[in-house]
């Protein structure tokens, strides 16, 4: 009897140890270091800029960045399962300039801002459009401007030259996008023209919005030019681009309000723009249309 009890107890302890080890091992598996980058984009350390680093970053030698995964060519997982995209390339090059490591944390969009506020990350990216409303909550560094494209089914007769052309049209887009904002701001103009308002369907992610267009729920699919171009290419002729809209807002890197990382990061990105690496990255992903020469911190006079 005593023997049996002892055996059962030791088995229980054995299981508990296994579970505990797994528990400790798991978090380690979550945080990802940056996958090896493109050797053509390799940067050398710039001591003058590295001096701008905040003491905490100097101590940890790491920039922790939260990434909201989306579709190519923005932040996404490639066939090897690595996190890739133009924003990742810019971040990697910038941290090389600063002489620190890049630590990527894939997460959902909803966790980005609370995570920044809780100082769990130094920065966050996720195709985030910079607006003055958002600048009240976080600091944002502009890295690219983009325009938006409209896609429709190959047989569609829709043609969008100005936003007036989508008054009364059902358009699918994504939550939190600039497109949703532009549509909302344009509704009074539709009313003034005597047309019906834009019927906007706002989905959680780009894939659902694209599906809605493909199943004829919406006449048009309207998101950032990078994602639309990729989608049309993948549709093998089933969808086509039917119009474009260029806005003056930036996409950028978000940081906690008043972050001491901002000066160093801004200087590093500016350096990339000055020495041509930035243009190499932009050309690699086909984003020349939106390239900028200056990396503004908290730009104003843009979309509210």
């Amino acid at each position: 009897m005593h023997n049996g009890c002892a055996r059962r107890a030791s088995r229980l302890v054995g299981w508990a140890v296994c579970v505990a080890l797994l528990g400790f091992a798991a978090p380690g598996a979550r945080a990802q270091g940056a996958p090896p980058g493109d050797p053509a984009l390799q940067e050398t350390v710039q001591p003058a800029i590295a001096k701008l680093l905040a003491p905490s970053a100097v101590a940890s030698k790491t920039l922790t960045v939260a990434v909201a995964l989306g579709s190519p060519p923005d932040d996404f997982r490639n066939e090897k399962g690595e996190v890739a995209g133009w924003e990742i390339d810019i971040l990697r090059a910038a941290t090389q300039v600063l002489g620190i490591e890049l630590d990527l944390r894939p997460t959902t969009f909803d966790s980005l801002i609370p995570g920044l506020q809780a100082k769990r990350f130094d920065a966050a990216v996720g195709q985030m459009g910079i607006t003055e409303v958002r600048e009240k909550v976080v600091d944002m560094l502009g890295t690219l401007t983009s325009n938006e494209l409209f896609a429709a089914l190959a047989a569609s007769t829709l043609s969008v030259k100005t936003l007036d052309d989508i008054c009364g049209v059902t358009v699918a887009t994504t939550r939190g996008s600039r497109e949703a904002e532009f549509a909302r701001l344009h509704q009074p103009d539709c009313e003034k023209l005597g047309k019906k308002p834009i019927d906007l369907l706002v989905f959680n992610d780009g894939t659902s919005a694209a599906d809605a267009m493909m199943s004829r729920r919406a006449e048009a699919f309207w998101v950032g030019s990078t994602a639309v171009s990729y989608f049309v290419a993948q549709s093998h002729g089933k969808a086509k681009v039917v119009g474009s809209y260029t806005d003056r807002s930036y996409i950028g890197i978000a940081m906690p309000k008043g972050s001491d990382m901002a000066p160093a990061l801004q200087a590093a990105v500016q350096h990339l723009m000055d020495d041509g690496t930035y243009m190499k990255i932009v050309k690699k992903w086909g984003l020349e249309d939106g390239a900028v020469t200056k990396a503004p911190l908290n730009p104003t006079g843009i979309l509210r």
């Binding site: 976080v138 949703a180 659902s208 004829r216």
Partner: protein, 280 residues
Amino acid sequence: MVRRVTEPEAAQPVVPLRHPGTWVATAIVLMIVALAAYSVATNPAFEWPVVAQYMFDPEILTGLQRTLELTVAAMLMGLLLGTVLALMRLSQNRLLSTVSWAYIWFFRSVPVLVQLIFWYNFGALYASISLGIPFGPTLFTVNTNTLITPLFAALAGLGLSQSAYTAEVIRAGIVSVPAGQTRAALALGMRRLMIYRRIILPQAMRVIIPPVGNEVISMVKNTSLVSVIALAELLYTTQLIYSRTYQTIPLLIVASLWYLIIVSVLSLGQHFLEHRFRHR
């Protein structure tokens, strides 16, 4: 010899057992609650002014209305269709009980999210739906997306799956009524449907109401699934707003507060219903 109780002894009151430990524990719990409440109220990170600003915002209230409408409609569908399914399941007729079993098996297995997406994108499978005579003329045709509106898809997805769950709860309630009740009713010359209506179901309500009350409360939250088909109910509305303004935490608090209010009201309603159906 029996000792007789004297007058003074008989008049002495009985002192109940005191529990000093409970008093101390109660005091500690109250103190913790008060400290927590104070901390939450004064922590600026919660952004209570933003919460107050959006609590009665028109966009939020519209989302709230949609949550309530979807909950009521889906639960009504669930109850009505569920009752029919439960009766079918218990029927002597083999065809009826098998069809009901298959329906329940299918709609409890496929995730509600998938059902919603499927109904919404039905137009991708069948661009139009026609009614006609096999190998004969077509009576009328309708564009699928016109027939299956987003609201239709939401109700189909939520209501049909809910009915499968409710059917099982109702069936359990019916089965819980003793067989003698049915025998006595049959012996009086009553027929099956009348027995269900007058004798079985009223008694089954005692067993049915608590789980169904639970289901209603779950449905209030499940309606948030319709965000995948771009319908803005309460939670999705808050998500849309904070996606724009980045004020994630206060907006989520707004949603949570409204859910707390709704569920509290529903719990009260359930309490009254249970009270009413108690055997006297």
